[in-house]
Amino acid sequence: MTPAASQAIGAELAFTPELSDEERRLRAWVQSICRRLIGPQLTSWERTGRVDAAGVRALAESGLFSLLRRLPDGACQGWAALALALDEVARESASVAWLVLAQNLLRAFLPTELCDGVETGAVVVTLADHEDQSVGPPVGAGLGARVTAGERGMRLTGTKRNVLFASIATHLVVTAGSEAPGGGRFLVRAGERGCLVSPIVPGGLRSAGFGDVALSSAPAIPVCPWTATSAAFSSVWRALGTLIEIANGLAAVAFMVQDARRKRSFGKPLLKWQAIQFKLTDGYLKLSMVRMMAHYFAWVLDQRLHVTGSGLDVDCYAALLRTMYCKLGQEVQEYCVELGSGRAYRVGHPAWRRYMDFVTLLLLAGGDDPDRELLSRTLLRPASTASV
């Protein structure tokens, strides 16, 4: 979908909460970046499997990687702006949206001089969480990757799988266990001795530069212990990642609406058939509602509220968002590829690309089982009666 089409449909979203003038300007700015810097390069990036260095530099210099502002007390502000940007960029490319999310969020773990590098594109940082034996959000104690402290500083050993942007990252934020209780996150310089990246070609997110990372006594700097802060980071990462999935779904619906106008069946355009109209509207409404939850989540972060209007804390709200997306949003994307039928089956067809992005995002994020577990503990235990 072109940014112009995105804008046209975006302007009509029945459930879009009203944007302020500043937010409208922000959205127009992001759309212009999509139009100038992302759209024209997308085919090339997907062919090579990564956003090239010039592309990263251009995106960094545009300001997309520094939407979050760090406050003196360490908290961040600008979540609503980041959510808005992710929403727009993901309609153009889910891969690039993940790049934007990673650079904005992971800067928090970098020393100041590296942060400056993110703003120019000289530093690309990514998160290395997944391992063969772990599913869903990482927990320190259960990880295979281990850190040991010795005379030459901390060393990290283990294997991380399906790391986004591994092939273009200059720095990795790696989750690992340690002798100390809990473990944490550690910064590792990519290309350093002991850090080997093996690119992989996934079915979707084709410009995300996926790779497996093998670490063998790689020098590591501790950046964040397993604390509430670290858990909150995981929640934000997961929630905004879900927003990217939602935006990808809305882009798929928007594309299929255009496609159904062109495609004919039984003598008239597909979109004239009520069976098609209703199903698309149903999917659109459900995705839009979950999307609003994601933007509300960002608003809550900006307001620095500890508890949402529904009585949940931020971690639980992120889990609820994921749960609702899995419940209501996923079937829509299945339908979009079904509606595209034979033509959508071709690699490169927008419906197929969206679908493969959807599947890959789902594989990366996993289902909603961990989220339901968290919500069960919070919402359903007797002691919670008073709070919710």
């Binding site: 459930f15 106008r261 004239k272 659109y284 960002a298 529904s310 609820l320 339901r372």
Partner: protein, 395 residues
């Protein structure tokens, strides 16, 4: 994004307003519900009490005798009234709240009647639907033939809410049949006791006193020129401008009620009940159902904030009708899922104790029948999304 409406709930004056509403409902409504529900006819006494408190004119502008409260104040008032079940809120209050706006056409005589409606001296019914047209407002056959400076109305209106019971009808009729429903329809205010008007009640015992239904037969009914509401032939647009954006709110729950009713109550029930020797609350299937209900209630709450913003007094934003329709979709699609989960969890308890769940299930079915299902709302939302090529009666 502007979610600041949520902050309005923290307002001290709003809390005092909630207390006032709660006191009124607890003392003036709740004790009398069993008595009113035993009556076969509409609960006029309840209607008058609600009107006297101000429930019918919460969001009306002051120039029309209203209280001109913003959407969130109305929401709080409705949330408190919901403690009395769906009946009073969904069926009595909505009539004046929504259809009274049709009387706002700038003419002093109609404004006086509206003031009487809002103060509970009259009750309105909107004789709109016909058997062949259903939810399609433009698809009517009732005619109004110009005669001697007035009109002669002939036709049959089906499934009209609050008939019998109401004493005033707003009737849609074709004044220019050749132009069709959209460009040839006019609205008329017709007292029920006008010669030629016959009301045939439809038997709805399960809806108790709250939602009477009836057929309105019009045979050569004389309507003077002053009965015409708005401009001649522009009735469809009059309805569209004044009613449609509010219609999605007719039957819906308030967010607080949705959370209490579909999450807290079944959760507490699941804590009490056991299956295979362990509490339902420990069974993953029931846990998932409860979490889904909580999530739906949250989606509903956020959507309400959006709709509240769009339907503040005199709010006629272009997308308001689509928002209201989307809300209707939620009421009818998600609420049904929540209801099923609640029924399944509360199970035998609900039947044995004759809790509100069974009664509300019936009201829910009644609302679906009265509102015409979700198809029309899909069309309204779809047209906003996808443009004019959707098959739809809107311009």
């Amino acid at each position: 994004m502007n979610f600041a409406a949520e902050r309005l709930y923290d307002d001290q004056a709003l809390a005092e307003w909630r207390d006032r509403c709660r006191g009124f409902v607890e003392h003036e409504i709740l004790p009398f519900i069993p008595q009113w529900e035993r009556e076969p006819r509409l609960a006029w006494e309840c209607y008058r009490k609600l009107a006297a408190f101000g429930y019918l004119r919460l969001s009306y502008p002051r120039r029309l005798g209203g209280l001109e409260l913003s959407g969130i104040w109305e929401e709080v008032a409705m949330e408190e009234l919901a403690r009395a079940g769906k009946g009073p809120r969904a069926y009595l209050v909505r009539i004046a709240r929504n259809y009274g706006h049709l009387l706002d056409d700038g003419r002093p005589e109609h404004q006086r009647i509206l003031e009487d409606v809002l103060s509970g001296r009259h009750m309105l019914a909107f004789a709109e639907t016909e058997a062949a047209g259903g939810s399609d407002a433009a698809n009517i056959r009732t005619t109004a033939v110009a005669e001697g400076g007035g009109y002669r109305l002939t036709g049959t209106k089906a499934y009209i809410s609050l008939v019998p019971g109401a004493d005033l009808l707003i009737v849609t009729a074709l004044t220019d049949p050749g132009a069709g429903g959209k460009r040839g329809m006019s609205l008329f205010l017709v007292p029920v006791d006008t010669p030629g008007v016959t009301i045939v009640p439809v038997d709805t015992p399960d809806l108790k006193a709250w939602h009477t239904l009836g057929t309105v037969v019009l045979r050569d009914v004389w309507a003077p020129p002053t009965a015409l509401l708005g401009e001649a032939h522009r009735g469809f647009y009059h309805i569209k401008a004044r009613v449609w954006s509010r219609r999605g709110l007719d039957h819906r729950l308030t967010p607080g009620e949705a959370l209490a009713y579909y999450f807290r109550e079944p959760r507490d029930a699941a804590g009490r009940k056991t299956v295979g020797g362990r509490p339902l609350l420990d069974v993953p299937r029931y846990q998932s159902m409860l979490i889904d209900n909580f999530g739906f209630a949250e989606l509903y709450r956020l959507a309400s904030l959006r709709v509240l913003a769009g339907t503040a007094p005199a709010g006629t934003a272009a997308s308001a009708s689509a928002s209201a329709s989307a809300m209707q979709f939620f009421t009818k699609v998600l609420e049904r899922q929540m209801m099923m989960a609640k029924l399944e969890i509360e199970g035998g308890d609900a039947v044995a104790r004759d809790t509100r769940v069974l009664q509300d299930m019936v009201f829910h079915a009644g609302a679906r029948a009265a509102g015409g299902g979700v198809d029309i709302h899909f069309i309204i939302v779809g047209q906003e999304l996808y443009g004019r090529e959707w098959a739809c009666h809107r311009d």
